[in-house]
Amino acid sequence: MTFVMALCVTACVGVSIYLLLGRDLKGVAMGVFLLGHGANLSIMAMSGSPVLPAENATAAESLKAAPILGAHVPSPALANMVDPLPQALILTAIVIGFAVMGFLLTLLIITNRSTGTLVVDRLANEPVSTTRTDTRAEPFLPSGTPS
């Protein structure tokens, strides 16, 4: 199981690095999302498989138990309980990643509208003009207005 998980993590991270090295920001964004999935899977791999019953558990396997239980499993029903903490971590990371994904896609859409491109080379040619950004009485454009 660990091997399969490792393969999945490798595939996710490998593809995401390939995408991250591209010139188009849409691809880079997909790479970032995939990297997040790879990170979640790697935590999953570390959380391990369910613990064995206490009497035949080796120490390494009992590590996978929920730390709040310890090795003295209070009831047989809990003997197969996985450590819930990594799953809580993954859940948190997924929620955060989802919010960030929404933001990043919105940012890319607005950037495309404003600058007309999502290719890194062309964006780099935009001058980093800092001329009076906040003193210029520039009318605020509501969303959708072509600039």
Binding site: N40, S62, G70, P74, E126, T130, F140
Partner: protein, 634 residues
């Protein structure tokens, strides 16, 4: 003082942000809510700092939800985090005041106030949290709000540059998640104090798990990217200067320091032990020196005011990291002092830059000059800010650099200290160049068609709130510079705490850390063992310390101070963080365990008396629990 008060430092900005959302079109109400919130935060942080430095507790700890230390999330307010929270609140207060005058109203209505408040909630949480994964969550709160602030107003340059900041931070977040998972896999805990306890104990036995250094490097990547350290600095001068100036000041003052704080907090505590210390310390040291050098050359090279100032942020981060790499208490105290004052001073310089831009037509240094004739007081305030950045003696930047370089020379970092001195000299050159070209120099050559616009800009009415914010920050910087005793005392206490993880561990875990037993006695007939106390463990698996963990009344085998050992505590079934007898005779008084047992983990009583602070790194945990990481090793 009630320790749960420190939760307010996070709750106040979060609540203020929530209040501002429905009131977003009533700008004055929003401004009032924000200013009151940050002022409350500042006052609370200062009064808690006073309680910390005068009382006998060096750290105020609260366990969120009543879940005791290794399981729940602890918030820790000590000299280091407290100083950072206070400085950040002051900067946020000033930036909010400045923004109310300088930000166009339509932009301010686009949720500027909620975003600033949420960002400060994230910043304060990352300063206070004692849990690695909670630090990730705090970073994300801070970053999400900062992404919003970064593109506020939707200038074309802003949008064209914002992707660098957003994408780099997203990659860093993914790596942070991976690293946090690895830490949990290696050490079986994410609580910083618990991690420190385990790694200290493992390092003392030279048994750090394989891959421990690699995890340290991953975390260092994450934090130094946020801080803008050498190989990862390039996004900073591209993105920060594109924002409206009040936001630039807030970012430049606060955000990079969060990364610096995370390095200063976590690395000496957890990762700079044993074999890992040699590798990581070298990485931090080289990174710090290159950061300083790159920063100061960038500041000399850029021709625009905002970008030059952005490079000075990088110089400051380099100095702060240099102090952490040196590792002496005095040097870390110097770094803490430097980071706190650098927040204030950098924000002040950016706010002054905003006022200069209103009077000139741009922030290009070639358009500057001659401003001293028309705006002498702005010139004086700006000069004070710049001299603090360079670190000349009467100003606040001096003491931090002095302490760092003094301890670096004392600890044998001669070459790097000389480089730091050289960077200081070049910084003076750079700030004087900036000041001369904007204020002191001759009037610029103005094209006839621009002359009218320039005259109009020079005569523009100064914004009262802009000056008020600038004066507030400069006055704070001057107070720190001229009367540094209080802040130096707090910073040195922070340096002591950082170099002595025993105090932090005792404060968070409790000196008689028995939290798991106290909880599980109620619902399980057989007392569930503490985290890591496996039955498999004392069935002969690791016989060296099994007798200690499960037969508490037996004296410790080495027992050079046997008189402290038979504790009168009847409930002493799990002496997890029982302070070990100190085998080094010259470090101070012999630690005496608390005679009376606490029935519950008592988050209100960190009890970090002097006996816990003299513990040397590595002697805290003689009665060590089973370490998961040990078992993982083949």
């Amino acid at each position: 003082m009630n320790p749960s008060l420190i939760v307010l430092l996070v709750i106040i900005p979060a609540a203020a942000g929530l209040i501002c959302v429905p009131l977003i079109n009533r700008l004055n109400t929003c401004r009032l809510v924000g200013v009151v919130g940050f002022a409350l935060n500042l006052g609370l942080a200062l009064s808690l700092l006073g309680a910390c430095s005068q009382g006998d507790t060096s750290a105020i700890v609260t366990q969120l939800g009543g879940w005791s230390a290794p399981y729940g999330i602890a918030l820790v307010f000590d000299a280091l985090s407290g100083l950072m929270v206070a400085a950040a609140s002051l900067v946020a207060l000033a930036c909010l005041i400045h923004a109310s005058g300088s930000l166009p109203d339509p932009v301010e209505r686009r949720y500027f106030h909620p975003l600033v408040n949420f960002m400060m909630a994230g910043v304060n949480l990352s300063f206070l949290t004692g849990d690695l994964f909670n630090l990730f969550v705090a970073f994300e709160i801070m970053l999400m709000a900062s992404y919003g602030l970064l593109v506020l107003g939707r200038g074309k340059a802003q949008l064209a540059q914002a992707y660098k900041y957003v994408l780099l931070n997203l990659v860093a977040s993914a790596i942070f998640v991976i690293a946090a998972g690895m830490v949990y896999g290696l050490l079986g805990t994410l609580n910083l104090a618990d991690m420190a306890r385990i790694t200290t104990e493992l390092a003392a036995r030279d048994a750090l798990p394989a891959g421990f250094t690699a995890v340290g490097v991953l975390l260092l990547f994450v934090f130094t990217l946020k801080a803008g350290v050498f190989p990862l600095w390039f996004w900073l001068p591209d993105t920060y200067p594109t924002c409206p100036i009040a936001i630039t000041a807030l970012f430049g003052g606060v955000l990079t320091k969060v990364g610096g704080y995370a390095v200063a907090r976590i690395f000496p505590l957890v990762f700079l032990v044993g074999d890992a210390a040699a590798v990581l310390q070298q990485i931090i040291l080289i990174g710090a020196v290159l950061t300083m050098a790159v920063g100061v050359f960038g500041a000399l090279a850029y021709r625009t005011l905002r970008r030059s100032l952005a490079m000075f942020i990088i110089v400051g981060v380099g100095y702060a990291l240099f102090g952490v790499a040196v590792g002496e208490p005095g040097a870390i105290g110097g770094s803490v002092f430097y980071m706190a004052q650098s927040m204030i001073v950098m924000a002040a310089a950016f706010l002054a830059c905003g006022l200069i831009e209103t009077h000139l037509t741009s922030d290009d240094l070639s358009d500057g000059g001659g401003l001293l004739k028309t705006h002498p007081w702005l010139g004086v305030l700006f000069l004070i800010g710049l001299l603090s950045i360079a670190g000349l003696p009467p100003t606040s930047g001096f003491y931090g650099k002095f302490a760092i370089i003094r301890d670096a020379l004392g600890a044998g970092f001669t070459w790097t200290a000389l480089i730091a001195i050289g960077v200081g000299a070049l910084s003076i050159l750079a700030v004087l160049r900036i000041w001369c070209e904007s204020f002191w120099g001759p009037d610029p050559v103005v094209q006839p068609r621009d002359a009218e616009a320039r005259a109009a800009a020079l005569a523009r009415e100064p914004s009262a709130s802009g000056y008020a914010a600038l004066v507030l920050l400069i006055a704070a910087a001057l107070c720190i510079g001229i009367l540094p005793q209080r802040v130096v005392g707090i910073a040195n206490a922070a340096g002591q705490q950082v170099t002595d993880p025993g105090a932090y561990i005792a404060a968070v875990m409790g000196p008689d850390a028995r939290p798991p037993a106290a909880e599980s006695h109620h619902d399980t007939p057989a007392p569930a063992p503490a985290h890591g106390h496996d039955a498999a463990h004392d069935t002969g698996h690791d016989a060296t310390h099994a007798p200690q963990t499960h037969t508490p009344a037996a004296p410790h085998p080495p027992a050079p101070e046997a008189q402290t050992d038979p504790t009168p505590d009847p409930h002493q079934d799990l002496p997890v963080a029982q302070p070990a007898p100190d085998p080094v005779p010259d470090v101070g008084p012999v630690p005496t365990p608390e005679p009376e047992p606490e029935p519950e983990p008592a988050p209100s009583a960190p009890r970090t008396g002097p006996e816990f602070r003299v513990q040397a790194h590595g002697q805290q945990m003689a009665a060590a629990p089973h370490d998961p990481a040990m078992e993982r090793r083949p």
